[in-house]
Subunit: 430 residues, 2 copies
C-alpha cells in the first residue's frame, strides 16, 4: 500500500523554483506542480548580453518543460497566478485553483521606479527577454537614426548619448557593453557618423558604483569603464526621465536611450498574502525559509527576506536563490521523513561583474580578482552555470566568434508587436 | 579629373537588392544608397525553421550594414519609402527625398488573402521574423493549453489541430516540421497529453501539392508527409477562417492554429508607379529588367514580372532574385561604359523542399532527387547560401544538435509586445 500523495506547488521557474523542483522531482509519494507565466527558464545574469546583441534569446533561456522532463513527478503548467489563498491552501490561477500540501513561492523581483512609474516607457528595465530585445532595438535604432541625421548635430549628439541608471553589476555590465559596441562592433559599419562619437553615461545615486563589492574593486571597475569611454557619475540622483533624456544632479542630459538598472521590488504576489513584508515587498521568512505561522509555505530567492547568522538579509543573487530553493525542498523531505527542519545557511559563491569584453571584477570570500583574469573566471563560471549543454556550446562559439571578429551575432532590430499582423515585407523598402 | 558621380538608389535589402549593391559597391564614380525598412537581410528559405523553433532569428538574418561594410561606395539607410516620383527621379521617404540617376526596386512580395484580409489575424503568413516568432508562439502555446485542458476533449482536439493553408514549398515544409515537432521534440515533455494526438492538415486548392515541381516529386512528398502523419487535402478551397478554425471543402475544421502559406502579391509600392502591373501586382519589365519607357528604373526579384525566352514569367525564387539583382546592376555598368545592355537569362539552380528532418524533394534541370539524399543536398545548399560564416557555423551546430537529440534550440514563447513595458517578472508565476 502507498502512503497518501503529498502535493507540492512551486510558483516560479527561476533558479530557486527550478532547483526546488529538481530536489523533489523523483521522490516517491511527492507530486510537484510548477507554475510559471513563461514557458522558459531565463539565465538572468547574461540578459545584458542579449540586450547588447551579443547573444540570442534562446542562448540564455530554455523551456522549463524540457529541463524537468526527466523528473517524472513534476508537472509544468504555463499559467498566471491570481492570488494565494493561505487559509484554504490553494493557489488561485486563471484556470482551476490548485490545492497544495506544501507551497514554494519563488516569484523573483521586478524593476522599481521609486514611485515614478511614468519613467518606465522612457527607461525600460532589464529583467525579461522582451525588455532585452527592446533595449537592443532602441540602441541599434539610435545609431541608424544618427546615420541619417546629417544636418542636426544636436539631435545627432542626443541620439548617440546612452544613459544607464544604476551602478550595480547590471548597470556596469550594460554601460561597458554599449561603449564597447559603439567603439568596435559598429565602428566600420557607418558612413556619415563615427560611432566613437557616442557618449555613455553611468549614473549612480550612491557614493560609488558596485556598492556590494569591496571598494578597491569598484575603483578598478571605474577605471576600466573610463578607459572604455564611459562617464561614471556617482552621488548623482535622477530627478526626471522623459522622451528627451534625463535630469540628474542639476544637469539636463539629452539622450535618446535611457536604460533603468536601479532598484528592484519583489513580485506583487507577496502583497496579497497578508503577511509581513520588508520595504522592497519581500516576504519575511524564518531561517527555515517558511513564513512564520505557515510551516507549509516557503518563500525563496529574490522574493524572500531571510536573515543570515549575523542578522543581515541575504542579497538577491542567483546562487542564493538556487541554494534556498534546494534547502526549502529538503525541509519538505525532512518533514515527510519525520526529521527536524534545517535552517538555511549560504555557501558563498562570490560576486562578479564583467566590464566590456576583456575585463571584470570579482570577489570570492577574501579573494579579489580584476582585469583579464577576472574576466576569464567570469566567462567560465557563467558558461558552466548556463543550463543545457547546447546552450553552453552555442554561447562559447558565439563569444569566441565575436571576440575574434568584433562582430555581433544578433544585431537585429525586430519590429514592435503592432507589426506582427502586418503582412510580410522583408527586403522591402516601404 | 573625375567623371560626375552616378547616384544609384536600391530599395530593398533582400537577395536581389543586396546582390545589386555588391556589384556596384566598389565601382569608381558610382554612389549607391540602399534603403530598407529593416536593418537586416533575411534568408527567407529558412524562415519556417524559425517558426518551428529549430533556429534563432539571428541564424537566418544578418545586418545589411555589416554585410555591405566592405563596399565603400554603399550607404545603407534604415527608412520607409513613401512613394517613387518617376518623372522627378526621386525616392520619397519619411525623411528627405533621395534623387537618383538609376533606381533598382527590389521590394519583394507579401502574403495575399484573396481579398479576405479579415482572415489574417487568425492565419498569419510567414514572410517576416515577427510572423515566424508569432507562429512559434501560437504552436507552442497550443500545446501548453492542451496540457492544461484535461476535462474538455473537444477543446483539446481543437488545440492540437494545426492547419497549414497552401501546398507550396513553404506549406509543405511547415506541415512536415509541425508533425515532426509534435511527434519527437515534444513527445516526452508533456504529462497529461500525448503530442502524437496532434493533427496536422495541409490544405491545397490545386489538384496536387508542389505544383511547380514535377508530378512524381509531388507524389513522393505527399507520401513522406503522410508517413509523418500529415493529412494532405488537395483540390480543397478554404471558404472561411476565424478564431475557431477553418471551413474547407464543405467541412468545418476546429483548429486553434492556422498558418497561411497560400498566395502572395507584390509590394504595394508598385501600384504607386503608374506603370503596367500583372494581377499579382508585379511590375512588368523588359528582358533588360527595366520598366518600358524608364530605362533608368529597374525592377528585380519577386516584385518583377519578367518573361523568359519561352515567354513565361520567372518564378519567385531566391536564385532568380539574386541573379536579376546582379544583372540589373551590370546593365547600369554597361551604360556607364557605353556598352549595350544584356537581356536577363536565368541560370537554373533548381528547386527544393524539405520534409521533416530527414527527407526532401528536389529537381535540378532534368534531374530529380527524393528522400534522404535530397535532404542532404537541401541541407548543403541552404547552409552554403546562408550569409556569413558565423551563421553557417551556428546553423550547422544547432541542426546537428537537434538532429541528434530531437531537442529544439529555440523553443521560447516570447510575450506579445504590449508586455514590453510591463515590469520584469521572469521566474514569476503571476
Amino acid at each position: 500500500m502507498t502512503e497518501p500523495v503529498c502535493r507540492v506547488v512551486i510558483v516560479g521557474g527561476g533558479f530557486a523554483g527550478l532547483n526546488a523542483a529538481k530536489v523533489l522531482g523523483n521522490v516517491q509519494g511527492v507530486e510537484v506542480t510548477l507554475l510559471d507565466s513563461r514557458n522558459y527558464h531565463l539565465f538572468q545574469p547574461l540578459l545584458y548580453q542579449v540586450a547588447m546583441a551579443g547573444l540570442n534569446p534562446s542562448d540564455i533561456a530554455s523551456p522549463i518543460r524540457s529541463m524537468l522532463a526527466r523528473y517524472r513527478n513534476v508537472r509544468v503548467l504555463l499559467d498566471e497566478v491570481v492570488t494565494i489563498d493561505l487559509p484554504r491552501r490553494q493557489v488561485v490561477t486563471r484556470d482551476d485553483p490548485l490545492p497544495y500540501d506544501y507551497l514554494i513561492l519563488a516569484c523573483g523581483t521586478q524593476h522599481a521606479y521609486f514611485g515614478r512609474d511614468e519613467w518606465e516607457p522612457h527607461a525600460p528595465g532589464l529583467k525579461t527577454l522582451e525588455q532585452a530585445t527592446e533595449i537592443r532595438r532602441r540602441v541599434l535604432t539610435a545609431f541608424e537614426e544618427a546615420e541619417k541625421c546629417t544636418d542636426d548635430p544636436e539631435r545627432r549628439r542626443q541620439l548617440l548619448t546612452f544613459v544607464v541608471v544604476g551602478g550595480g553589476p547590471t548597470g556596469v555590465e550594460l554601460a561597458g557593453a554599449i561603449a564597447e559596441m559603439s567603439r568596435f562592433t559598429l565602428a566600420h559599419d557607418f558612413r556619415s557618423i563615427d560611432p566613437r562619437m557616442s557618449q555613455v553615461i553611468l549614473v549612480e545615486g550612491g557614493a560609488r558604483i558596485l556598492g556590494a563589492f569591496a571598494e578597491p574593486l569598484a575603483d578598478n571597475a571605474s577605471r576600466s569603464l573610463a578607459r572604455l569611454g564611459v562617464q561614471v557619475w556617482t552621488s548623482c540622483l535622477v530627478t526626471s526621465v522623459d522622451a528627451n533624456g534625463i535630469e540628474a544632479c542639476e544637469k539636463s542630459v539629452p539622450a535618446a536611450t535611457v536604460i533603468w538598472a536601479a532598484g528592484v521590488e519583489a513580485s506583487p504576489l507577496g502583497r496579497g498574502l497578508g503577511v509581513p513584508l520588508d520595504p522592497q515587498g519581500r516576504v519575511h521568512v524564518e531561517r527555515t525559509l517558511n513564513i512564520r505561522g505557515y510551516p507549509e509555505v516557503f518563500v525563496v530567492g529574490d522574493q524572500a527576506h531571510c536573515l543570515d547568522e549575523e542578522g543581515n538579509p541575504y542579497p538577491g543573487l542567483a546562487p542564493v536563490a538556487l541554494q534556498q530553493g534546494r534547502s526549502a525542498a529538503r525541509n519538505i523531505l525532512r518533514d515527510l521523513a519525520g526529521r527536524p527542519r534545517r535552517e538555511f545557511s549560504y555557501l558563498d559563491k562570490g560576486m562578479m561583474a564583467a566590464i566590456g569584453r576583456s575585463k571584470a571584477v570579482g570577489q570570492f570570500r577574501k579573494m579579489r580578482f580584476t582585469g583579464f583574469i577576472a574576466w576569464l573566471a567570469w566567462l567560465l563560471v557563467h558558461i558552466y552555470y548556463l543550463t543545457g549543454f547546447a546552450n553552453r556550446l552555442m554561447v562559447v562559439l558565439q563569444w569566441g566568434w565575436s571576440y575574434l571578429t568584433f562582430k555581433r551575432g544578433a544585431r537585429l532590430i525586430t519590429q514592435p508587436d503592432w507589426r506582427l499582423y502586418k503582412r510580410g515585407r522583408s527586403g522591402d523598402g516601404r
